[in-house]
Each structure stands twice: as structure tokens, then as C-alpha cells.
Symmetry: C2
Amino acid sequence: MSNEETNALGYPKLACSTPVPSDIEVSQQIVKEVGLLPIRDVGRQVGLTDDEVIPWGIAKAKVSLAARENRKDVPDGNYVVVTGINPTPLGEGKSTTTIGLAQALGAILGKKTIACIRQPSQGPTFGIKGGAAGGGYAQVVPMEEFNLHLTGDIHAITAANNLLAAAIDTRMFHEASQSDEALFRRLCPAGKGFSKVQKKRLDKLEIPYEGRSPEDFTAEEKSRFARLDLDPDTITWQRVVDTCDRHLRNVVVGMGAKETVKSKEKEGERVQHNRTSGFDITVASEVMAALALAKSLHDLREKLGAMVVGFSRKGEPVTADDLGCGGALTVLMKDAIMPTLMQTVERTPVLVHAGPFANIATGNSSVVADEIALKLVGPDGFCVTEAGFGADIGMEKFFNIKCRYSGLKPKAAVIVATVRALKMHGGGPPVSAGRPLQKEYTEENIELLRKGCANLQKHIENAKKFGVNVVVAVNKFKTDTDAEIEVVKEAAMAAGAFDAVLSNHWALGGAGAADLASAVDKACKENDESNFKFLYNLDTSIKEKIETISKEIYGADGVDYTELANQQIENYEKNGYGSLPICIAKTQYSFSCDPAAKGVPTGHRITVREIRSCAGAGFVYPICGDIMTIPGLPTRPGFYDVDIDTETGDVIGLF
Amino acid sequence: MSNEETNALGYPKLACSTPVPSDIEVSQQIVKEVGLLPIRDVGRQVGLTDDEVIPWGIAKAKVSLAARENRKDVPDGNYVVVTGINPTPLGEGKSTTTIGLAQALGAILGKKTIACIRQPSQGPTFGIKGGAAGGGYAQVVPMEEFNLHLTGDIHAITAANNLLAAAIDTRMFHEASQSDEALFRRLCPAGKGFSKVQKKRLDKLEIPYEGRSPEDFTAEEKSRFARLDLDPDTITWQRVVDTCDRHLRNVVVGMGAKETVKSKEKEGERVQHNRTSGFDITVASEVMAALALAKSLHDLREKLGAMVVGFSRKGEPVTADDLGCGGALTVLMKDAIMPTLMQTVERTPVLVHAGPFANIATGNSSVVADEIALKLVGPDGFCVTEAGFGADIGMEKFFNIKCRYSGLKPKAAVIVATVRALKMHGGGPPVSAGRPLQKEYTEENIELLRKGCANLQKHIENAKKFGVNVVVAVNKFKTDTDAEIEVVKEAAMAAGAFDAVLSNHWALGGAGAADLASAVDKACKENDESNFKFLYNLDTSIKEKIETISKEIYGADGVDYTELANQQIENYEKNGYGSLPICIAKTQYSFSCDPAAKGVPTGHRITVREIRSCAGAGFVYPICGDIMTIPGLPTRPGFYDVDIDTETGDVIGLF
């Protein structure tokens, strides 16, 4: 085969159709006409041995963490984060750019490159948003395998999260109906000894147990061990589903005829053992965050066991390990800790791990996936990782939380911008899914665009605060004019970007992102890692940290707290959680808490409605403004278009 | 290697330790000391090609349905169902016998044999019951891979079931707040045409759409199409979790500040859009039943689309397809329809598919798994399939529902009995998990045992009503005496068993079940398939069918119905669901609805509390007595013992 017909990896060059078919059509075209590389061969490209790759379904595999240990002495590759401006509800192609850039670096420039992206939530897959596999000729394939179940990590998180939830309500129920003595006898049956997780609690309570049998315990020791005495008003642990189900946002649980306990007020009467609670979408679970931030199986075990579900009536934190769950949760997550290997349309490797939704979660792929990727690509290669939604949330969390825990130093940040979104920030009419775009977006409009560039400029300034080189990727839409592209580039350079480059990977694959790849390569080479810094120090108070993020990143005047939030902060600091980093839940559509406030809002304040402890995962989680931790479905959800050809097995209508 | 050292398949003979270690220790010992066969090699034993086997995680693979199509002309193997007497809460080793028998037929007698078992629910895995992988030296390995997640089928069911649940509440919410016109406009946006699932509904409503665009519809057509007008009181669709969570049995959903609609009574006021509902355990979902009974992907698509969630205020059934969901549900289930291949401790093949809980579900493995197995083993081989819990529920459903849909004719039924459970039926003290057995069970007690054998005899008589040969397997416990074993065998033969055999597979693997295997082989050879018959005809009424099962199988005097159940039956029959088979939800601990009524209760009546339609899966589902469709957790759940060795990754304490 001549050089004209093969790319830098020796595979057939990507043949792109015009107009670009739907995402699923592109994916099925690649699978059927070009063919996938066997997944172990994808691994071999970056030196993975067969032992390190466990095939796991159709064109997917798990990568053992041994892949990292086995390359302990290999210097890390170049670490590049891809983030974006505040998007429209249609999304501005951040995942697509991540994949396109990786295709360009790998298949066009011939550099060892791994894209690290997040597993999509199935909620929006059947709801309103597009997939998360990228799009057009910059995608992970087969896209239906990527978008559905993947290798089950999110399902494992649902299972773990909800096991803990069941343990909470059941324990409260049993404590409400049993004496200390009976509780203890059941928890520690004579002759059985103490289990590993029970010893953890005994250690925490400083109750000696070596050489003692349960019967030797004093009444006071039995009570302290067995009665968690959870205060229901302090419980922040929610159940989860990976479905957009607004009716589960707030529910009353425990309404069954058998979920009753003896009344404390009226003798002989029974009262319902119910409680107002709620469901989050699975990707917002602390278990997901623990997975994303864990450095090892051991670290994951510790994180999961340390998760605080609420406080006892005496004000002591109650953890998953206190409920006896930490080991079981880790066992449920033992496969999930391995990233999933897939491939792009140009057969370059992709690691998929952890979850999206930087608005209500950390929204970054995992520390271990990035670490594995950096070792596999080596010093001349690239790990391109994605930080979700707008840079104000996804990138801020990437630097301040993820990089702090991993110790990894990124060399460049790519900020994805589109003419469409910038026009919206400049005052264009609202953009919403399912409705045609107005003419401001389909025709040249320099004035709106110029105004809107302020949003991009603020994100560039924010990124530079962390001391990395910033490359702006203008993700090309076919209606963009040359003059419009120029405006964006100029604005980016004026705000201090290292470079600003047009990229057309959606239509052309890696070839369309070759300039972007060269710019990123140069930005990494010329970056001085010693400039890298965090935005805040951990030893400042929770409120100081929230204020720093709000003022420095969101451009807010200040922060207001509800009474509940104030109480929670006081409680968390009293219990030693004050020195954790901050993961703010906030709308992705604006720097402020108001999704309608486009451009660069000023004079606004951030309202902290409540704060949940994510002490296990390693942060505190303020919920700001009106943000929902589980989305709903529109009147005509995406599932209306999804079906299967029962003859061929082909999925149809999935984006 | 000499013949002394290898079994009939040429593998090293099983070396069994005494005393038998815990299940997980046996499993890990096999994996580490003997080694697993690569999963594709397990498939090759029964002729599976590499194309037909998709590796799916650690020592697991999915088997493509093409494996059945590719062998269309191969005659079926011998079809053997394993069932049991009414068990104690400790379980009597039905899964263990299924696996042990398959090991004996395969590894000892050298006949091509596949065991078909069900995927365990993770709820009880972390709750109270043991695993479902078998036990001792008759297990599927690695047992932790079997018991946790498997290949994600149950998670897929949870996702599908809950997507439909979200669609129901969301649709009611949108219908409560939008005019017919607005609803229709959103459901059928101008220029988008009708999706496949929408055309199904238009066909059902006999509204022509070819050549018409949405705007052409009359107001009446728009209303009929867009307004499902679900009557909330008729909704039988529940949400599911695969967790034992009693507080989800009854919940109120829709309690959030945004889940409000305009009041119909008071202008200007908003009322909560809430509803009392509940969760079932996932394995009780109709989606699981549809998976278990589907013959093909096409059949699954039709079944899922036809699932009835409730009725309109006019009394018309509302289906998943009416809600636009049938295609998406099938897409979520596209991998789940493939059975999972694993191996026993003696390296013989096992297909794992569909779900357990014959008390609250069909509780049988899938039609497609059995069909694939029967083709793979061919006319001289064996498919040993398991029907859950007591034969009164699991076996009855196996014959009357599963075999009716598959058209397959079993040649023999194996009924598993234990001296322990028979003593309980004879009046022995209660047996419960976590408490030591009383002396009646650990010492010889012929009298109790003799009385208890009536339970076994009734099950034998029941099985013979279907016209198959019955082999009783006395599952050996180390405290059983020879005299006791003799009593059971005699009682079995007196009741018309073809044979009754002691089996010691738990301690000895296949070698311990060699006699049982020979008896089963003989029973199949001497069975006359033309004797096979169902217990009831489909064209009798719902009540007649319930009565037939209750009288013939449960030995009840008659059946009582609540008013709700009467209404529901009337409604189902009116809508054409009267000719479906019946899947009764009832305690597994007794022939009656009272779990405490041991032996062979007489004079009892069956109370039908409510009936759910499972019109999609293909049965109606009466819920009898006090049975719960989601279990709870005990004070000290199994998860207390489960942990992970974070150095080696070994799971510990899982049974």
C-alpha cells in the first residue's frame, strides 16, 4: 500500500463522506466497511501486553492497573486537558475535539496518543443530549457500544450506591425496633468473631477486641458499637438511577405496611418508618467521584469506607464502614476500577473511565486512566483528557481536585469554542435542543460574535491562572465564515492564548485537526511545568475556598449561604473535613448561577443552597443555585427515535 | 497423563479437600491451583466457534444466538429439569445439584453436557442467602465473577425497566400540564415525520399516516395519538433495584418543588404531581420475564413493546410502545439476550441466563439458553436446566409457561431433597439463617423424617402430572445416616419416582453425582415424550387456571380474590389477556400461602391480593398471600463479611 493510502499508523486513510452522515451511520460505516482493529491489537499499538488487556464485550476491553505498575519507571507523556467555553444546550463539540485531536496526534502526526474520556450517562442518551463518543469523523466506535452500558462501571456504581442507601434505612429501622443488647447480639453473633469491617469500627471507637469475645463486652461498649443513632435530618446520602427521572428527585420512602415501628409517643401504636429522601443520577454519586479520584484498589477501599452518609444525634460522622459496607462496595467496584479500552474511527486507542456531568459531579475521567495513558505513551506521546462542560466548572475541578490528588501536571489546556455559542454569549437568541437555529446563527454576524468572545477570553484568563499554556480550538461548523473565525482567533490571542486554531475534525477526522495537534505539540514543548499552580490552598476554610472559586473563576461579587448550608459547613469543619478541596455543583450554561446570564456576567452572587460531604471521595460538594442533581425527560425524549433492526441487530436512531 | 489422573474429558481429575472449604475458597483454589480453561476453549468443547463466543470479562463470554441458527438441523439433546422440595431458608442445594449433575454427566460419564442456570440477584448476595453458583466442589468458577454483575444482564434490565417507569410519570406530568395541541406538536415536530414506534401506535389507533404530515392531522386524531390519559390507579409498572431495600417497597414519588401542576379545582394554585408507587427487585421485572421467554431478538422487541403499564381512563391498555419506549428498551437489552458462558470446577460448560426468584418471577433460565444448549450437545448429550425454589412454583412455571412457549419437551425431572428439609416438613423446629441447627437436624431422627417425606411425595406426584420421569436426588449432608437416606429413597419410590439416588457432589464433585447421572441418563432413555402434557389449557379463564394450579399443585381447597384482584381480572380478560398462562407469586416455603405450613398442608385456600399484567412477557401475574416483591436486609447482612484483599485483588467472605 502506498503512503498516499495509509496514515501515520499504517492503517488505511479515513475516507470521509460529504455531507457527514449521522453519528451512528458513521460508526456503522466504519465498522462494516473499514473494520475495527481487534481490541488487543489496539492495546498493542501502545505496548499493552495480552495479559494487561481483558476483552469485555463487543470491541471493548478492560485494562489492568498492572499496566501502570509494570511501567513505573517510564517517564510520563505530555498531559493535555480539553475543556470549553460555556456551551449551548446542543454542546459545542468538546468530546468531538478531544477525539479529533487524539486522532490527529496519533494517526496524522504519528505520535503515541491516548484519549481519556468519560463514560456517558444513559440518562441523557435516551433523553435530550447527544452521545458522548464524539461525533462525525471524530468518534469512538462502535458508538452504540460506547453509549450503552459500556463495561458496566456505571451500573456497578448504582449497585454500590444503593446498597449503602438500603443499609442506612434498614439500620435506622432496626435500631428503632431493637434494644442495644439485641442489636449487638445480631451484629456480633457469639462464636463468629468480628469481621474486618467491624474491627475498623472498633478501632475507630477505641474499643479493644483482641482476645475478647462479643459476650465480654460491657453494656456501654455494646451500645457504642451497635447503635449508630443516625439523625435522619443530617443524611445526605441519596439513592441513584442512571435514568432521567424527575419524579425521583424527591420521594418519601418507607411507606409500606411493614415499615412501621413502635410509637415513642403512644404506647401500643405503630408509626410509619418513613423519610423524605431523593434520587440523584448515578454519575453524581460519591462512588463515581471515589472511582475518578482513587489511585489504587487500596485507595478506593479506603475512600468508599470513609464516605460519610450523615451524622449521629451526637454529631459524629457515620461512614459506610460504620454501616459495615465498605468492603462490599469495593468488591462491587473491583472491575470498575479498570479503565475501558476502545478505538477511534482511525483506530487510535481511547481509555474510557469515570463519569460526566461536571455541573453536578467532578465530571472528569479518572486519575488511573490518565496515569496509565501517560505511562503507555511515554515521554514523546500524549494523553489527551477531557474536562466536562464549561472550563469554569470542569477545568477548575480538573486542576484543583483531580491534579491535586494525582500530582500530575498538565502542559496545555485546549479550550473549545464555537462561533455559535459565542454569538449566544454576545446576545443572540436562545438556543435549544429540537428547535431550528435562528438566522443569527446561520448567517455571518460579526457584532454578536465580537461581544460574545468575552466569554472565551474569561475562560482563557482563568486557565492561565493555573500556569498552563492555552490553545483555543475553534470547532468548525459549516455556516462559520472566514471573517468570523478570524474574530475568534484574534480575541483568543488578545486574551493571552498560546495559539488559536480552526479545527474541522468533525468533517475530516484527524486530518481536520492536524493544525490543532501541531499547536498543542508546540504548546507542550514550550510550557514550563514549574509555573503550574492551584487556585487555592487546602488549609483555608471551606467558605474561603468557595469564595476564591466564585470570585476568581465565576467573576462573582460574593457568596451567600442558606442556613442549612451554614450549619453543614460548621459541622464539616468541626469534624475535620474543612481542608478538603471544593467541588461546586452549578449550571454549566453561565459563569453565574443563572443559566440565562450569558457572556461574562458581573455583579452576581453565588448562592450555596446545601453542602454535601464527599469526605470519602475527598471533597465537599456545595450545591449552588437551582441546579438539579437528576435531570428530567422532555415531552419527546430521544428514545422515540431509537430502535433495533431485529434482522441485522443494528441499532438505529441513536443520534 | 494416565487414565487414573484424568477425567472423561481429559482434564486432571478433581482433587477434593476434606473438610470442604468455603465456596469462595474452593473457587479460588481451583482458579489458582488447577487453572481455568480459556473461555473460548470451554466453548470449543461443545463445538462453539470463536465467532460464536464473545469474551466478556474475567472468564466469561457471551454466546451469540447464531450458535442456535447455525445448528438448526442438529437434533436436540436430552432435556432435564432440576427442581426441589420446599426448602428451608438455608437452601437445599438445587443449584449445587444442577452443577454437580452436569459435572457428572460431562466430566465423569463423558457425555456432552451443558448446565443452564440463572444469574443470581445481587440483592440476596449481600443480604442473607448464599450464592447461586452452586457450592463446594459443584460450582461455577470463578464464583465471585458469577455472583457479581456477571455480564451485566440484570443491570440492563434495571435500566430498561426504569426508563419505562420514568417515561410513565413524565408523560402523565406533561399531559397534566399541556394541551392536546401542544403535546402533539412536541411529540411530532413539523418536518420530522413519525418515528418507527410512533407508526406502531398510529397503526394500533388505525390513524392513517402515509403521505400525511403531522400538521394534516385533525384535532381528534391529535388528541387520540398524544393523550394516553393513563389512570394512575391502574398502573402496575413498578421501578426496580437489584438491592434488598425494604424501604422502597412503597414510596411516594414526585414530591419535588418542580413536580407540580396547575390545580384543576383551584385556579391559580399548583398541586404536587405525586403518586404512591413502589420498587420491586429487578429479577421480578417483566423485562426479565420477557428475556427469559423470548425466542429471538425480534420476539423480544415485540414482547417489550407490548408490555402493559396500566390502563387509560377509558379502560384501554397502555403499552411501552404507546409510550415510545419499546425500541429503546430492546436496544438496552440487545446484549442481554445472549447467554453467558462460564465453566464448572471440572471445566464443563455452563450457560447462565435470566433470573432467579421463582416465588416472585418465572424463576427459570431462558428459553434461548436451553435451545442453544440442546443444539450444542446434540442427541446424545444433556441440557440440565434449573427451575427455582420448590417444584410447586419453579417446576410448575417451567412446564406450564416456559415449555409451552419454547415447545421443548423435557425427558426427566430431578427433584432435590435433603434429610434436613424433610425433617422440618415432618415437624422439626424452625430452621433459620445465621442460627445453629437444632439436634433434630444433626442427629438421626427417622420419625420426623418419615413424616416429612410427604412433602417430597407430593412434589413427585405433581411432576408426574406433566408426564415426565422423576428422579429424586438426595443431596447428602455429612450428618445424614444411612438409615435416613434409605427412608427418603423408599418414600420416593413409593410415590412413583423412576429412581431415587444419593448424591454427594458437594464434597466430591462430579464423581459424587455419578450414580445420579446414570439414573438420569436411564430416565431419559426410558421416557416417552408423547406423555408430556400441560396442567391447564390456555383457553380456560384466568380464575379457572389459577384454581387448577392451586388445587392440583398446591393442594388447596380453593381460591379467594380481593376486590382489586377481581377488577383486574375482569379488565385483563376484557382486553384479551385472559388466554395467557399464569405465573403465581407465592412463598417458596410451603405448598400454601403460609410459609409456616410445612409438609403437605390441606384445607388451605389461596388468596390473590392483586394481579399484574405481564402481557408483554406473556402471562398474568397473581400475587398471593403476604409475599413481598422486594426483600429486605437482616440486621447483620452478608455484606459485613465481604471485603477485598487490596494487595492481591482477591474477594473475601463472599459465602
